[in-house]
């Protein structure tokens, strides 16, 4: 409904007093842009001998993201190690997103189809893991999957396996940890979408000769797509920058971007490289967000 004249004049008046928000806006601007600017500037400086930076312009931080100079014959080669880390991060994040979707969809469907009061209870239960520190939860996962952990002991006792499974310090361990941590971020937006879904459309689908699979693909999925997209973005982005989970469950060696950045600011003593990778991560995330906004807007244009 269009705003009435009265509403509009009131709103105009309030808008004219925008300067009252100035202090908050100033703090927000400095807090949001300040550190980013520092990181951007550092990525174009020279690494200091004991960490930190020397105030000398250099593009080496950026070039070394992609290529390295061979220490023996001084030729430029693609930075394989970096590419491996990027690729692992993207791969693990995509798989995590897929797995959370696979587990999260039936979960969200289950919750959305409960009685209103049971719904609230289930949602509440889903958010319980958020109450505990991420570090502690990750250590707990480690206790379950390590060689002498609950999982292996159980499987051994049941006679399903004869030697303990080596799960810790593998990509599988990182995946298990990330799926566990980010599952609620998938379930909540999915629930919001499914909750709005008109269940009567299912009967309409069956009535018009659709099988169960066809109803899922042709009726349910298109209508809950906004929830799927939102959940995927909410899972994918923090996965890409994950630090704690790969650190603890992947050991020191199976790094993701987050660990690699930390390494440059720590032992690696190459702050410009760390800064450049941070900016790169930001760019990847922004691209992902553009896709997200496109998908959502496309949805609205059609509707």
């Amino acid at each position: 409904m269009a705003p009435t004249l009265e509403e509009r004049t009131t709103r105009d008046q309030i808008r004219r007093n925008w300067w009252l928000s100035l202090p908050a806006l100033a703090i927000l601007t400095v807090a949001a842009i300040g550190p980013l600017l520092v990181v951007l500037v550092y990525s174009f400086l020279t690494p200091g001998e004991y960490g930190n930076v020397e105030w000398k312009f250099s593009t080496e931080g950026w070039t070394s993201v992609f290529v390295t100079k061979d220490i023996f014959d001084e030729t430029w080669k693609l930075a394989d190690a970096h590419m491996t880390i990027f690729w692992r991060s993207v791969k693990l994040s995509l798989i995590t997103t897929g797995l959370t979707l696979l587990v999260g969809f039936p979960t969200a469907w289950f919750i959305a189809t409960r009685e209103p009061r049971a719904k609230a209870l289930w949602l509440f239960l889903i958010t319980i893991p958020f109450w505990t520190n991420l570090l502690i939860r990750t250590f707990a996962i480690n206790q379950i999957i390590r060689t002498e952990g609950l999982l292996n002991t159980g499987l051994l006792k049941l006679g399903i396996i004869s030697t303990p499974l080596q799960i810790t310090y593998t990509d599988t361990a990182v995946l298990i940890g990330m799926v566990y941590v980010y599952l609620p971020l998938m379930v909540l937006p999915l629930f919001a979408s499914i909750d709005r879904f008109d269940m009567r459309l299912l009967e309409a689908g069956y009535d018009l000769y659709a099988s169960r699979a066809q109803v899922l693909r042709r009726v349910i999925l298109p209508l809950v797509k906004p929830g799927i997209v939102a959940g995927s973005i909410l899972v994918f982005i923090p996965c890409l920058g994950a630090y704690v989970t790969p650190r603890i469950l992947g050991g020191g060696k199976l790094m993701m971007i987050g660990n690699f950045i930390e390494l440059q600011f720590g032992q690696g003593r190459n702050w410009p490289l760390g800064a450049a990778i941070s900016i790169l991560l930001l760019i990847i995330v922004s691209i992902a967000l553009v896709f997200y906004v496109r998908a959502i807007n496309g949805e609205n244009r059609d509707a």
Partner: protein, 353 residues
């Protein structure tokens, strides 16, 4: 039962819940609906109309009994395997699809070739007069237009039977009248068997070939609109369809003694009985006219084309007489005046209970 029955329900019962809380939504219902018929299920809220319809569509399975389609039992066939389509009360159109895509949905699920689907969608759009809006999203349409899309979508796969669950109840009166004739036209043009649910008796009377009047999970009477209106079998049907007056009578040897002592011939068993007579089948005559019920006028309500005169009989029962508005407007007796009520020959209906 009937050879040319498109849909037949045999002794169908449906119970929801168990023990003391059991709801008998349908109680031993048998009905045979003929090929190409416009059949209406009429009854008050909660009488089991939707339950019967959902059982024919396959969304509900009967507790006992059998459903047959063209003589074949389909009781346990899932809805997507039944050549039966539904027009839902809420329309249940797919909001992410355009009008044309909605209509094409059933045909696509049946795996029809694209060219055939496109041709059929065009035909359906023409049938419901929505050619101009083929590309429109259904959310941007009025109630009447959505109704047409729902009809076209359900008719497109050429079902053997079309089920309509109160399809017009969400529309305003004018649109409702328009869609009523539209529905009749569609049924004539397609020749498809329609099973139509309503709790509006006027709608049922004007549209149907046959009506089943339901109450409390049972079919009370089945017949043409004329039969149902002129020969209701029991108090429920007589009272539910149109307005009616109930007269208590004492029958002896084919003669009923009515309040006020007059006697009229009826075909009924001896004893105390209830007779029904429609308000338009009585006439106000001078008090003391032979074979007219003596009565006292209580009140008269003017309705334009006619007036409803409320009168009290000798035993205290109140009856309504419908008086056509004449050019003179002088035919309404004043309240309190004594009159006679003449009953048209054959107008007295004997009710079962």
């Amino acid at each position: 039962m009937t050879e040319n029955a498109a849909i037949e329900a045999r002794n169908v019962s449906k119970h929801f819940g168990q023990g003391d809380g059991v709801v008998r939504a349908l109680d031993d219902v048998s009905v045979a609906i003929r090929q190409g018929e416009f059949f209406t299920l009429l009854g008050p809220s909660g009488c089991g109309k939707t339950t019967l319809l959902r059982m024919i569509a396959g969304f509900e399975s009967p507790t006992s009994g059998e459903i047959r389609l063209n003589g074949e039992p389909i009781t346990h066939l899932p809805p997507n395997k039944r050549p039966v389509n539904t027009v839902f009360q809420s329309y249940a159109l797919f909001p992410h699809l355009s009008v044309a895509q909605n209509i094409a949905f059933g045909l696509e699920m049946l795996g029809k070739p694209r060219a055939e689907i496109d041709a059929r969608v065009q035909k359906m759009l023409a049938l419901v007069r929505l050619e101009q809006l083929a590309g429109r999203k259904v959310s941007q349409m009025s109630g009447g237009q959505q109704q047409r899309v729902a009809l076209a979508r359900a008719l497109a796969p050429q079902p053997k039977v079309l089920l309509l669950d109160e399809p017009l109840s969400a529309l305003d009166l004018k649109l409702r009248k328009e869609m009523q004739s539209e529905l009749k036209r569609l049924q004539r043009e397609t020749g498809i068997t329609f099973i139509f649910v309503t709790h509006d008796q006027e709608e049922a009377l004007t549209m149907s070939d046959r009506i089943a009047v339901m109450s409390a999970g049972r079919i009370q009477q089945m017949g043409t609109p004329r039969e149902i209106y002129t020969q209701p079998v029991n108090r429920f049907v007589a009272g539910f369809i149109g307005e009616t007056n109930f007269l208590s009578a004492e029958v002896r040897d084919g003669q009923a003694t009515l309040p006020g002592g007059i006697t009229l011939p009826v075909r009924a068993r001896n004893g105390q009985t209830t007779l029904a007579v429609r308000p338009e089948l009585m006439r106000i005559v001078a008090a003391g006219t032979p074979a007219a019920l003596p009565a006292t006028v209580a009140d008269a309500v003017y309705f334009g084309t006619d007036s409803h005169v409320h009168a009290r009989l000798a035993d205290g029962a109140e009856v309504v007489v419908r008086v056509q508005s004449g050019a003179d407007g002088a035919s309404i007796p004043a309240a309190g005046s004594a009159v006679g009520l003449a009953i048209a020959p054959g107008a007295l209906q004997v009710l079962e209970d």
